[in-house]
């Protein structure tokens, strides 16, 4: 084994935010108060689908302290990140239970709340569309009567007028129809789960003011400050340069804070009170159902193989429950199509991915962006196919593992740089879960131990011009400040970027000061902090900025040392001569320029800047899906061992394994944190989470007491995390993205383990003991 050649890369550097977070002194958005701050509260819909006949605000105005009441009539337009189909405040009709109808602004929060409760809405109920399948029927009630007229914000979105289809993305690769005819073994399976939620511990919150000079100042819990600027510009006609967004640290996001909902509402509220600063903080109930959540899905997968188990044809139909509006679900619809097969080489692919409007709370991005969801369906089908072929499920996955030289469903060419090593991940996970000890064992006390495996991949479907920038400003003591608009939401990005600076400048990481808060006016542009893209995009920008700083340091040092720049090297807080390292100058003596003994000075502060933009990405072809949607595919294999009790169908998760190939791992401990946290989120989603709807589309569990999730003690008894580090040539130090990947395979692995344990096909989530019991009962009948 070669020794780690790096100074900081690959080392478990402590998180730079840990001390303050442990002390409880970090201030999140809602922790700031300002004298004169006004408070906003929403009145929300009590119906899932209804015409608004009248909104009576007269009682609300009688509450002392009320300053303004805003309703949908005052801004009767549609906004959205992909398809502009959502009114910030409902007008004419409501489309989901909990939808914002009006904002009350008052001196105190309780006054605003009292008034909001006194807003009386007269509804005319409309028939409720309560599932993606119902929405897909030709005689289904229409949720958007004019979806064909909505403005498209990006190119790959295709609403079908006169239906509930908000978008339809197609993949047509090879000749599916002929290949399907010729397959020896064919299977078809159907899967489903309801919408659920991110439930980040920090509820969403924003403060907005419009100053007299016309500047709009926003403070928010967001993953996308520059998108807030874009939205306020596009739909509210404010100059981009007049919008400033501040983002402090974020208390968890998981994709849920990537879209823009709160800020336009608070902007309208502030405008209604002459631009005064207004705070809008969601209660937990609003954060769960009024704010966007995690998609639901109905999937049908048909796989065809030859007798040896080689996959020849795959057909994928995804009906995505996007809720009342498409938001990021339209992008998820696209992502679900472009990676529809999972990490398997299938020459003939037919995929129809539909973004379906329903009368459910609307959905947005969720950690993994279509991949945990499609992987659940694909990996269950792979297990079923293995049983039919009488092949070991691990073997079937190895036979079909995608490799350099193959192509993705969109015909993007895969090579050893842009694709991780799937086979190595499978082999290592197989070893770590002790697969060969047996997939299903009955224990002496009548319980069953069973294992399940799941293989996955994901590319980051960023905008084709997604980019990041970084600025390095040197201090008089030789330390350096890093400004970058990547947001710290718990994932540890700021620490990773500090490590890259320390590595490139060969300096002590303690001398790298990272600006934790983001300010869109002083930080360079950053697309968003989503899509596992920060290490890659911001990392490349940071390296670029380091190179710029190094050349400035060398230039000033060359003057001080009276030599040529080419002879100089930077490291250890100095700039020195390569051939005689003892001859050099301290960075602190040139950080603000060099001063001659006689007082004359030259050069000035070292300020490095760097940038990076995605290269050679394209939209997808409308008819075939052809295109290059993302820069690289990180891959992995996960496995779960459960102990299941046949007496009451309850189970414990004994072991959960992740083996990920995310290229070079910059920090093995933060990477492990990301994997474990992702595994938890995936297992919680798979085993317990989901909204419960009644027949009227009302959410019956809009609280953390009734919206169940995995609590302390219910987590796997053992988490095992390992990395394969196939370097990416264009990633910073060989790194690819990893942030979302811990989630992706968990639902598939857990469902496979429990299906093996209970010897039934568990194709629906969440995997509650009751579901297992019911499925067994039905299969015995």
């Amino acid at each position: 084994m070669l020794e780690n050649p790096w100074l900081s890369i690959g080392k478990p550097e402590q998180r730079i935010d840990a001390v303050e977070k442990a002390a409880g002194t970090v201030r999140y958005t809602a922790d700031y108060s300002v004298p004169g701050l006004l408070h906003a509260k929403l009145a929300t819909s009590t119906q899932a689908h209804a015409k608004i006949k009248a909104i009576d605000v007269s009682e609300a105005w009688k509450v002392p302290g009320v300053r303004a009441i805003v309703t949908g009539k005052m801004f009767p337009y549609h906004i959205g990140p992909i398809l502009a189909d959502r009114p910030p405040l409902a007008f004419e009709k409501v489309r989901y239970y909990g939808e914002p109808l009006a904002i009350v602004v008052a001196d105190q929060e309780y006054m605003a709340k009292q008034a909001a409760q006194l807003i009386h809405v007269k509804y005319e109920p409309l028939p409720v569309v309560n599932s993606a399948r119902e929405a897909f029927q030709t005689d289904a009630p229409l949720i958007h009567e004019n979806s064909g007229k909505y403005m498209k914000i990006i190119s790959n979105v295709y609403p079908v007028q006169g239906t509930n289809i908000g978008s339809h993305i197609k993949i047509r690769k090879g000749d599916f129809i002929t290949a399907w005819e010729n397959c020896d073994i064919k299977i078809k399976q159907t899967f489903s789960f309801n919408l659920s939620d991110h439930a980040a511990l920090e509820p969403r919150c924003t403060r907005v003011e419009i100053n007299p000079a016309g500047k709009v100042v926003v403070h928010s819990t967001t993953q996308s400050p520059f998108t807030i600027k874009k939205v306020l510009n596009q739909f509210f006609n404010i100059d981009v340069g007049n919008i400033i967004v501040h983002v402090p640290l974020i208390g968890g996001a998981f994709g849920g804070k990537g879209t823009v909902q709160l800020e336009p509402l608070a902007y309208l509220a502030s405008k209604a009170v002459g631009g005064r600063m207004v705070k809008l903080e969601f209660t937990r109930e609003e954060d769960l159902i009024t704010a966007p959540g995690h998609i639901g899905l109905e999937a049908t997968i048909a796989l065809g193989a030859n007798k040896a188990g080689k996959l020849m044809a795959g057909q994928y139909t995804y009906l995505i429950d996007s809720g009342a509006y498409t938001d990021q679900a339209a992008g998820i619809t696209r992502a679900m199509a472009l990676d529809c097969t999972g990490p398997y080489d299938i020459p003939n692919v037919w995929c129809d991915s539909y973004c379906m409007y329903t009368n459910h709370p609307y959905a947005t991005s969720f950690r993994g962006y279509a991949h945990p969801e499609l992987t659940f369906a694909v990996e269950r089908t792979m297990d079923k196919l293995a049983h039919k072929l009488k092949l070991d499920p691990v073997e079937l996955r190895k036979i079909n593992a995608i490799k350099p030289g193959n192509s993705s469903p969109t015909s993007a060419v895969l090579n050893a740089n842009n694709l991780g090593d799937v086979e190595k991940c499978i082999d290592q996970a197989k070893k770590l879960i002790d697969w060969d000890q047996g997939e299903r064992l009955e224990t002496a006390d009548g319980k069953v131990k069973a294992k399940g495996i799941s293989t996955f991949w994901k590319t980051s479907t960023t905008a084709t011009n997604a980019q990041s920038g970084a600025v390095l400003k040197f201090e008089a003591d030789g330390s350096v400040n890093l400004n970058c608009a990547a947001i710290e939401l718990g994932q540890g990005s700021k620490t990773i970027l500090a490590q890259m600076v320390a590595e490139r400048l060969k300096m002590d990481i303690k001398k790298v000061h990272v600006t934790m808060e983001v300010n869109t006016q002083s930080d360079p542009h950053q697309w968003r902090t989503v899509a596992s893209s920060t290490t890659f995009l911001a990392g490349r920008a940071v390296m670029n900025a380091c190179d710029d700083a190094i050349s400035q340091l060398k230039r000033t040092a060359s003057i001080a040392l009276q030599c040529s720049m080419e002879d100089l090297e930077v490291g250890g807080g100095r700039v020195y001569l390569k051939p005689s390292p003892e001859y050099g100058v301290k960075i602190q003596d040139i950080a603000l320029g060099y001063k001659y003994p006689n007082g004359h000075a030259v050069e000035g502060q070292v300020v490095g800047h760097g940038r990076y933009i995605q290269r050679h990405l394209t939209p997808m072809d409308k008819d075939t899906g052809f295109g290059k949607p993302g820069p690289w595919w990180s891959v992995g294999t996960q496995a779960v061992e459960v102990e299941w009790d046949p007496a009451d169908c309850s189970y414990k998760i004994l072991k959960a394994v992740t083996v990920l190939d995310g290229g070079k791992i910059i920090n093995p401990m933060t990477a492990t944190q990301q994997m474990r946290g992702g595994m938890y989120l995936g297992l919680s989603f798979a085993s317990q989470e989901g909204f419960i709807f009644d027949q009227n589309g009302t959410v019956l569990n809009p609280q953390l007491r009734t919206y169940q999730m995995v609590r302390f003690g219910e987590q796997p008894a053992e988490y095992i995390v390992d990395f394969i580090e196939t370097p990416a040539a264009d990633g910073p130090f060989g790194a690819r993205g990893i942030g979302e990947y811990g989630v992706i395979g968990m639902a598939g692995a857990l469902a496979n383990a429990l299906s093996t344990a209970a010897q039934v096909e568990l194709n629906h989530l969440p995997l509650l003991p009751e579901l297992i019991w019911k499925t067994r009962k039905e299969s015995q009948a």
């Binding site: 935010d17 409880g24 999140y28 920090e202 208390g251 944190q673 953390l704």
Partner: protein, 159 residues
Amino acid sequence: MITNGTGKTVVRLHVNGEASDVMICSADTLLQTLREQLGLTGAKRACENGDCGACTVLINGEPMHSCLCLTIETINQPITTIESLRDSAIQQKFIEKWAIQCGFCTPGFILNCQALLNKHPDADDETIEEWLQSNLCRCTGYQEIKEAVKSLLPKGSAS
């Protein structure tokens, strides 16, 4: 004298070893008073329903959801918030064991762990689980938090 309604009254609280006068309505929760009047924002508002533990403080050494306590109930009782645990062993363990990601649940977890350490220095796995089930974390997967608290409990089995 506190009257019902929106009228305000000055009362004295005992927070982190100091006496502090605050002005409250009868309906104010301890969470609101700590955050809005004393600037102690380590206690987080995350569900206001006693479901998540992010607002946990110690009252008379007992971990309590400050979102479910009225401020008037806590007069003359010692209150401890995360701000007074600076450099405590449990905080250090949360850092050392990588038990912190976004940090939003961290103060509540640390206070609950501190109370557990005080009250049950011999806690076994079952007791730890019973205590910590009242706090939610969405980032870590709980393993690191378990390691942090168990490293200070001699009886907890090695993890």
